[in-house]
């Protein structure tokens, strides 16, 4: 039962846990530096009014507060990890096996191709679940510790519900962008081409979101980017997880995943 899933869970253990751990280690790091950073950030806040910084860091960032600083650092890093991971990992899940010829033996056993692909993709999703879990638990501990040692006041603590929404949003983005990358892998079945194309798709969406935010005349580009939906900074600002955004991202992800599995099930393995 779920043999492929369990095998790949072990295979990707190191890479699967290392990225979430690196990200959450930044929470106590910036927390411990917060009293010194607070003064500097008030100065930097003036710079952030520049529209270029707003484009780069996302809108509505207030670095003079602990939640603002926290959201900017942690979720900006998470976004970059997401771009890196979604381009390189799902696109290679099956295509690298085609490169190495290991699929030849594997698919001579009685397992449907779609199930093999789904079990491998589920491993990617499972490790991405570590981000919400570890970020939430580490943020809770950081909040409590900083409060106890008077680094922050009770009003300055981070709202864990908002962090929960933002991490759920990020996980769904991991899912949807990953599914698009996985689809590229199934279309090309050759890892170098698959990664190049998934890079084009994912970085293209990232650019559309960022450049679309510069002027009103090209803001329509943002509507075509998944990064525009469930953005952590917007969730932090509004304190809500928009159901409409959630449906859009989940639908794109499910459609891409279904298409990828269908293509893998029916295509030739040349």
């Amino acid at each position: 039962m779920l043999t492929v899933y369990r095998k790949n869970l072990r295979k990707y253990l190191l890479i699967g846990i290392s990225f979430p751990i690196v990200i959450v280690l930044f929470i106590p790091l910036i927390g411990s530096l917060w009293p010194e950073l607070r003064n500097q950030m008030e100065f930097f806040q003036e710079f952030l009014k520049n529209p270029i910084y707003q484009v780069m860091l996302g809108e509505l960032v207030d670095l003079s507060t602990w939640p603002g600083m926290y959201f900017m650092y942690i979720f900006m890093m998470l976004e970059w990890v997401m771009i890196f991971a979604t381009i390189f990992i799902p696109a290679r899940l099956i295509s690298s096996e085609m490169d190495n010829n290991t699929l030849d033996v594997m698919l001579s056993y009685p397992i449907p191709r779609w199930r093999y692909g789904l079990e491998k993709y589920s491993v990617y999703l499972t490790y991405n679940l570590l981000y919400p879990i570890l970020i939430l638990s580490t943020t809770f501990l950081a909040n409590e510790t900083m409060l106890n040692i008077d680094f922050i006041s009770a009003e300055e603590t981070i709202d864990l519900v908002v962090v929960g929404y933002a991490t759920i949003g990020s996980w769904l983005l991991f899912f949807a962008l990953g599914a698009l990358s996985f689809l590229c892998g199934m279309i090309f079945l050759e890892s170098s081409k698959a990664m190049a194309f998934s890079g084009l798709v994912i970085l293209g969406q990232y650019m559309m979101e960022r450049f679309g935010g510069i002027t009103e005349s090209i803001s329509f580009l943002q509507d075509y980017s998944l990064f525009h939906y469930l953005s952590a900074s917007a969730i932090n600002h509004s304190g809500k997880l928009l159901i409409g955004d959630l449906i859009i991202v989940a639908s794109v992800g499910l459609a891409a995943l279904a298409a990828a599995l269908y293509i893998f099930q029916t295509r030739e393995l040349t």
Binding site: T3, N100, D104, V105, S108, P110, E268
Partner: protein
């Protein structure tokens, strides 16, 4: 289903697989396109309990045909059934009963042989007694990671994986490539034993000696077309053989001395004491004649596949 049909494990009927077109520029600078044929109207049957040899030079269409059987490739036309089941619709049911060694074997390199046996064993249950026998016959250390093994040892692991569940039907695509002669002999011994127990084997090879030693029937494919299906014994009688003889200088025959009534096709004198002969069918009468001379060296080689093809066309 009639009795004869139930005895058929594999039925391949008029399978055609075209890969597309290739474009070549000739000396005059003109671009010529031609179809890239993988297999063209290939038909044959493999009966229960036999070892069927599938012979052909590299690029003849052996692997294409096998990949069509396994439903990895889509055919333009034709029909394939395994155990009377459709190879595409009933692919999963078929895969529960077959074992496969690909021509270009690749295994997960970060796993040990034992881990791979356990992993693949969860899809098709292992026969523990047979696995024990395979472990004793092959000398590969299954506790080592695949990436640390030589290509020959990896091939042994691939053989063990394919055979460990003792499947009813084995599809083997050049399974002995990279194996040393001792391991090849062990492998052939296992194939013969499986055949005696009623298992069916489809063995693709370009090694004539291998096919001769283990197969009951042989199909020869060339440029995507099946050109011949025969019993191995019958085919053997069609082979030519090349003989090189070095006579003792004390008594060397003239070309005209060679027996004309034996099956000698041609005689060439390479050096004063060295002769090269092409002989068909039975060489007994020729060997009988050789007793009159003192021989320093004698080598006999089977004809190449190409020669057999040419001979067949003649």
């Amino acid at each position: 289903m009639s009795k004869s049909e139930s005895d058929q494990v594999l039925q391949v009927s008029e399978v055609t697989k075209i890969y597309g077109r290739s474009y070549l520029t000739n000396i005059a600078g003109k671009t010529i396109s031609r179809r890239v044929v993988g297999a063209e109207e290939v038909s044959f049957i493999v009966n229960k309990g036999e070892i069927f040899g599938f012979l052909g030079p590299n690029g003849a269409g052996k692997t294409t045909t096998i990949r069509c059987i396994l439903d990895y490739l889509k055919m333009q036309s034709g029909m394939i059934s395994v155990f009377g089941l459709d190879h595409h619709i009933d692919a999963l049911e078929i895969r529960e009963r077959i074992g496969y060694i690909p021509g270009d074997l690749a295994l997960f390199k970060n796993y040990t042989g034992n881990e791979l046996i356990n992993f693949y064993g969860s899809f098709r249950p292992i026969d523990p007694d047979f696995l024990k026998e395979l472990r004793s016959l092959f000398r590969v250390d299954l506790s080592l990671k695949i990436k640390s093994l030589s290509s020959g040892n990896r091939q042994q692991v691939g053989i063990i994986l394919a055979l460990a569940s003792k499947p009813e039907f084995l599809i083997l695509d050049e399974p002995t490539s990279g194996l040393d002669p001792l391991m090849t002999a062990n492998f052939h011994r296992i194939l013969k034993k499986l055949k005696q127990e009623g298992y069916t084997i489809f063995l693709s090879s370009h090694d004539l000696a291998e096919v001769q030693s283990v197969c009951d029937r042989v199909g020869i494919i060339r440029e995507g077309r099946m050109i011949l299906i025969e019993n191995v014994e019958d085919l053997r009688s069609k082979f030519v053989q090349h003989i090189n003889i070095k006579f003792d200088p004390s008594k060397v025959p003239q070309i005209s001395d060679f027996p004309s009534n034996s099956s000698i096709i041609s005689v060439n004198q390479i050096k004063k004491t060295v002769f090269s002969l092409t002989i068909s069918e039975n060489i007994n009468s020729f060997l009988h004649w050789l007793r009159n001379y003192e021989i320093i060296r004698l080598t006999i080689e089977d004809a190449s596949l190409e020669e057999i093809f040419l001979q067949y066309y003649e």
